[in-house]
Subunit: 492 residues, 2 copies
């Protein structure tokens, strides 16, 4: 009998081509070890829950404290009859009750009714106001679409951009694998541009130009460019000057810019505060501000909210023609509407407590506290890595990850080959077995030939961090001791 449509051999080849590192060998081994009862420190995040374990408490816990009023609002919206309960004032503060009434009034039938496929108009208006306050330039709610997380928005836009394998999308390497996976799924071509590790993961425009030239020589039409700012997995923050160069480049090369700005609240240095691509584009003036097509993405999953499980995000379109916006709207409407509870979270995120609100003081104290603690952890972690033999790590300027380079001695690379493993996978597996620290090998994000990394989150608590870094150092130094060739090699 002929193969059936859902037999492996007869599946859509684009589906099979998709690679998604976060579920690789390391992850599966960590899961096995955990089942055997070993204590695993999940610093891979992204998706630690697939095993049924409790993930690091960070993405939930501080948010949880911070968002108390927000959670009360969403709880009241889910069960609006609570608003009529005579005891409501005993459990819910007045501002939570007022906000719940506000958001319920914006919906058309509560959280159980489909919203507009672009999201609730009133929430999109709050997002536009947030962008205006942030950038100092007008923002149009009609050009803001709410989504089930930023990833879904990226997929919608790439689906419109990619017509076939002749269409290329510039993606930073190392990159967050959403981009490579989505480009494979839609049958397009990923055009890599390398971030320069020695320049603190900076982006060199000459290098970018070279990538485009090379892609064109292979017959590829480069149509779009992705930037991740702050970077994932690399943690760098782009300077305003760098963003300006990128936008100028997109203008010259006729590229749509996809600005992944989901980590905009996660900034751990003062030299380069977050500046949005939209703001830089507006400041550049004509012809750029009216010509460069830009789509910017944000989420409720990161920052000091970390509400990953809610699946809420938005994108804002700049200089996209109305007929194209209509097409994007039509595609959004095929899956009816983004989930409504997360739209309320988005409203709460972009419109947080204001001076004078009951919960304002607590909100400011807690959100500052979270970012300051993350800044200290970023420092602890990168300093820790840099104290290890054959490990160098740029400071994590933003986002949630450290991405140290591991200089593997030739003997270690040989041993990996013998074991049939990619060298960084070999290293990370050993690390996992010895310490329980679960990381993601750099090969999952892309790296230059012969150079090896791993990605860890900076999310372990400040109390746990010294122990984790000591454990890492002990493993690493023993590993290096074992594989180093002591004749011509010395510790520097």
């Amino acid at each position: 009998m002929a193969p059936k449509a859902l037999d492996y051999d007869s599946l859509n080849e684009n589906v099979k081509k998709v690679q998604y590192a976060v579920r690789g060998e390391l992850y599966l081994r960590a899961s096995e070890l955990q089942k055997e009862g070993k204590k695993i420190i999940f610093t891979n995040v992204g998706n630690p829950h697939a095993l049924g374990q409790r993930p690091l408490t960070f993405p939930r816990q501080p948010v949880f404290n911070l968002g108390k009023v927000s959670f009360q609002v969403v709880a009241l919206c889910q069960a609006p009859f609570l608003l009529d309960d005579p005891n409501v004032g005993l459990m819910f503060p007045a501002d939570a009750i007022a906000k719940a009434k506000h958001y319920l009034s914006l919906t058309s039938g509560g959280l159980g009714a489909y919203s507009d496929s672009r999201g609730i108009p009133g929430v999109r208006k709050e997002v536009a106001e947030f962008i205006e306050r942030r950038d100092g330039y007008p923002s149009d709610p009609e050009l803001i679409f709410l989504t089930d997380g930023a990833s879904k928005g990226v997929m919608q836009i790439l689906n419109c951009v990619i017509r076939g394998e002749g269409d290329g999308v510039l993606v930073p390497v190392p990159q967050y694998p959403l981009y490579s996976a989505t480009i494979s799924l839609f049958g397009g071509s990923l055009v890599p541009y390398y971030l320069e590790e020695t320049a603190n993961w900076g982006l060199d425009i000459q290098d970018l130009r070279q990538s485009v030239v090379q892609a064109r020589s292979r017959g590829i039409t480069v149509r779009a460019m992705v930037i991740i700012n702050p970077g994932n997995p690399t943690g760098q923050c782009l300077s305003e000057a760098n963003i300006r160069e990128i936008l100028r480049f997109c203008y010259q090369e006729n590229l749509v810019l996809l600005g992944d700005e989901v980590y905009q609240q996660n900034i751990y240095q003062d030299q380069r505060p977050f500046v949005s691509s939209k703001k830089v584009l507006m400041e550049m003036g004509l012809p750029f501000s009216k010509e460069v097509q830009l789509v910017s993405f944000h989420t409720v999953s990161k920052g000091y909210w970390g509400e990953c499980g809610q699946r809420g995000g938005y994108f804002e379109m700049t200089n996209i023609p109305p007929k194209s916006v209509d097409e994007i709207y039509k595609i959004a409407s095929v899956s009816l509407s983004p989930n409504v509870p997360a739209q309320i979270f988005m409203g709460l995120m972009v419109n947080p407590p204001k001076p004078g609100d009951i919960s304002y003081e607590q909100f400011i104290r807690e959100s500052k506290g979270i970012i300051e603690s993350l800044r200290r952890r970023a420092r602890l972690m990168t300093d820790g890595f840099n104290s290890c033999r054959n490990v160098v790590c740029n400071f994590t300027e933003g986002a949630m990850y450290s991405f140290p380079q591991i200089r593997l001695p030739p003997k270690a690379i040989e041993a990996a080959k013998k074991a049939g493993k990619v060298p960084d996978v070999f290293y990370c597996l050993r690390l996992l077995e010895a310490t329980g620290i679960s990381t993601v090998p750099g090969s999952g994000f892309g790296q230059k030939e012969g150079v090896f990394h791993l990605r860890t989150t900076i999310l372990p608590t400040e109390e746990d961090m010294p122990g984790i870094m000591d454990s890492f150092k002990k493993f690493n130094d023993e590993f290096m001791e074992k594989y180093e060739d002591h004749r011509g090699y010395s510790r520097m």
Copy 2:
């Protein structure tokens, strides 16, 4: 300058080809009239909210009464610190508190943490138990994936099935436009099979075979078949014998069957209760039960729940090889996880109050009450249509829609042509202008050449129904009077 990637002319052609009737001309005109202050009766549903109006209260209101305990559970899960509040017992009954603790214990970090990309294991287990109780056959939680609504699941599966325009999917006509839209988006070919209106929208296997033969003669590889049971927009319920024939046909023709069973709770007659495709397949025994690839879909958006805005669904895979399941898992993981609150709703739906639970009596009374009322409304509506000149309507056996045929006189068709409108759009626009009743023209769902329909929901309240049907009858009879050729035509 060359066109930019997001200029309309340079968008992915598959995106442009997508048609989605629910946002057609009728919908836009209804929106304009509403803005002008006219009272609009939205019996189109699907997506009434895009205008910011309050939709029919049905999908929310009875659910809302029914689900009181469920909403309390989800509210507590969203704000779990409420469980520690000394006043919790004043506002929340003991079973809601117990259920909230149960679902929180199944998550890995609450509603704000990503779940496994397939959904929370504990909820998938509850779904499997529900399927086992329903069908009397085992169900494996590992083959159940939770999704952001059933539509997203359908899209994931079709993405795996469709490799290019040479791949065909059998879709009933009339159909729910999710299928035509998704097949266009992924660049496949829709192979229509016609439901027979004179046989109460039944499915004739000979006709099906003919569709496949014709598609093959055009060089199309037919890979999958969609059934919608109960039917949308046609409302018919498939008999067990008919499902058996379909499964045998899928076996012979080597087709994956996609069983859209989202209306399985919405049954308004007793001759053909809902029987799942999975159950029929298992009863058929070998070789069918081990050979036919089947994916079945369900949702929290329909039935007596109607929790559309939550975006919760699942699919169950039968006879799909493990390597393919892994591929589907990988694709699901690119967008991280379905939203977690809707997963809790799914758990509550498949695991409702049991005899002895505090809220059991109320649950049974209310859910029965809702279905009985819908049954009366289905009768009122189809009887109403059948009392109108040149209108015939099969009884709405299930789902939420009536799909009357409107026999348009030649003069009306001529007038439509003159106005540059498709005839059923012309009729529905006139209906809208005259009565405020907003429907969807049959052409949005597909119909045989020269035959015209409209789709309405059966969701207006029982009180409102007589007024709406009187208003429809008055309009229709005047319309027919105006356009009928009285020489050779008489009212029958």
